[in-house]
């Protein structure tokens, strides 16, 4: 892949919206043309070159474009918005709305990610090595569906309201997850290797939550079914291990308590709690 390296010159005083940072916008452009791409600071139109030093080589193919961002980008929003192919690596933290409506390709963030990122994520692979904020991989208010496909791996903790209105796809969180996980979930799978906060699966219709830790407070609208060893979980983890090199510190072929709910909704969702 052809690498284009953007190094933050100095942290912006105010957040900037840099939705132009996508392989689609960078491919076919010279470094000088990339520097002239628009970013927004409030209502002011500015250039990418005002904030970043741009190095690397010109890439002709979008799928062969690898953007590497260096620095603390906590105030840089919308990185990788709607990207469909190629790769972005953030060597540091990333701001809000990262991978917004992402359609394909891969984003790797080596630091933490702010709230409202991966909103209405459609496809591709997103790997976060740090923690993520609230409303991650959720739906925008008023929209009927949140995450609609793809795979998100969070190696740290996740905040509140992760995967709200999730429709399809897989999210795996290595550490703990906050409150209101997968509220109004329609389908898909969320796996937490750590603890989960209050009320997971509130108003979920279908979909699966798998918890390898403890759940702080289960809703009374989830009903215990049985304790058994579902085969699909073994299948899931073998695929995750082979395709994404995700390894879990437990024997996944153990026993799980199954609860179904939310019975105040359709009630075909399920929560599995690992029992060893």
């Amino acid at each position: 892949m052809k690498k284009i390296i953007l190094t933050l010159k100095k942290e912006p005083a105010l957040p900037i919206e840099a939705e132009t940072i996508t392989p689609e916008n960078f491919a076919g452009r010279t470094l000088d043309e990339i520097k002239k791409l628009i970013v927004w600071r409030g209502k002011r139109k500015e250039e990418l070159g005002d904030y970043f030093k741009v190095e690397g080589e010109k890439s002709e193919e979008v799928s062969e474009t690898h953007i590497i961002l260096k620095g603390d980008l906590s105030k840089v929003k919308y990185i990788g918005k709607q990207m469909a192919t190629g790769k972005i690596t953030v060597k540091g933290n990333a701001g809000m709305h990262l991978a917004d409506e992402m359609r394909g390709g891969e984003i790797v963030v080596e630091g933490n990610v702010s709230d409202w990122s991966a909103t209405e994520f459609r496809n591709g692979i997103l790997r976060i090595k740090g923690n993520v904020g609230n409303m991650f991989a959720s739906a925008y208010p008023g929209n009927p569906r949140g995450m609609r496909g793809g795979i998100i791996v969070i190696e740290g903790k996740a905040g509140n309201s992760l995967a709200r209105k999730m429709r399809r796809g897989t999210i795996i969180v290595y550490d703990s997850v906050g409150d209101n996980l997968a509220a109004q979930m329609i389908a898909g799978t969320v796996i937490s290797l750590g603890n989960i906060g209050n009320r997971p699966g509130m108003l979920m219709k279908r979909g699966t939550i798998i918890c390898f830790g403890k759940i702080q407070e289960m809703l009374p609208t989830f009903i215990y079914d049985n304790t058994y060893s579902p085969l699909f979980i073994r299948y899931y983890f073998k695929e995750l291990r082979e395709k994404l090199n995700i390894r879990v510190p437990v024997k996944v072929e153990g026993l799980y308590e199954r609860y179904h709910g939310d019975v105040s909704e359709l009630g075909k969702g399920e929560i599995f709690i690992y029992k060893g």
Binding site: I151, T189, R234, Y235, K238, E239, K268
Partner: protein, 302 residues
């Protein structure tokens, strides 16, 4: 009439003729289970009564044992090849056989094991209705699978099974001095063919003792015993093809997912059979090349 020509393999005469094979459609199903015993129980049941499309609807046989490290769920598995004359018949066979012999078997799961095919059938998508509304689908890395609740726990199977254009009816005949020698050579041939990927021998134990010819003296019968190769009536049949000193003949019928797989299976089968003492000759069954779409010359296999 020109004299028959031969070549030799391991010092045994092999007639320079051809096996007449047919276009078929084939699928590969992987059955996994809690252990190899139960995967094999299901695979044996699935491949039961699957010797010939003439009366069984499909030709079905176990391909090989698949170790846990290679199966999608990390459990022991057995791969089964299923063949039929048409796509419609193959889909019907997969539905019946997976539905009645895998779904019903303790702890099993069924996966498409073909990978790339020319078409695909919605098998799990239909068998899911057995779940009576409690079935759950999971799309994992682009593959949709179904979890069907059953009394034992859950039956897990793939939504779609692929199928590809295949070759059925590759064959060779082993002509032996005695039943024992011909059968021993057949067993050796089947053992050797078991190591060939994408090819199976669907008859009992991989061996067919009753090769057939097209037609019969009876109008209602489309196929009847291959009289030219029946040693016991050698003296009664005009144009018998049973050589002097041959008391028993077995046919090894091979179906494969590709012509190359069938030819490779014929090669290793003949090589193994000709190492057994008492084998007088190897030849192949054909219908003059008028019925089958493939004419596989024995010589071309080597």
């Amino acid at each position: 009439m020109p004299a028959d020509s031969f070549f030799e393999v391991n010092g045994v005469k092999v007639k320079d003729t051809f096996a007449e094979a047919f276009k078929m459609w084939g699928s590969k199903v992987l059955i996994t289970a809690i252990n190899e015993r139960w995967a094999m129980n299901s695979a044996r049941s699935m491949s039961g009564f699957g010797t010939s499309v003439i009366m069984c609807g499909g030709e079905v046989a176990i391909e090989k044992v698949v170790p846990p490290s290679e199966t999608p769920d990390g459990r022991p598995g057995v791969s089964v090849l299923v063949f039929a004359n048409t796509k419609k018949q193959l889909k019907d066979q997969l539905m019946r056989r997976i539905g009645q012999t895998v779904l019903t078997c303790p702890t099993t799961a069924a996966y498409d094991w073909l990978g790339v095919g020319d078409t695909e059938f919605k098998i799990g998508a239909q068998l899911r209705f057995f779940g009576d509304g409690y079935q759950i689908s999971k799309k994992i890395f682009g593959r949709r699978l179904w979890r069907i609740p059953v009394m034992e726990g859950e039956f897990f199977l793939e939504e779609k099974f692929k199928a590809k254009k295949s070759v059925g009816g590759g064959n060779f005949l082993i002509l032996g001095e005695t039943v024992e020698s011909a059968l021993k050579a057949s067993e050796k041939a089947v053992e050797a063919i078991a190591g060939v990927e994408d090819a199976v021998t669907p008859f009992p134990g991989g061996v067919c003792r009753s090769g057939s010819k097209v037609g019969s003296k009876y109008k209602f019968l489309h196929a009847s015993t291959n009289t030219a190769f029946c040693p016991s009536i050698k003296g009664m049949v005009e144009g018998t093809r049973v050589p002097e000193g041959v008391a028993s003949i077995f046919e090894i019928v091979i179906d494969g997912l590709s012509l190359e797989a069938v030819k490779e299976a014929m090669k290793v089968g003949i090589e193994a059979a000709t190492q057994v003492e008492g084998v007088k000759m190897i030849t192949a069954a054909n219908y003059g090349g008028k019925l089958g779409q493939y004419s596989i010359k024995l010589k071309d296999c080597f």
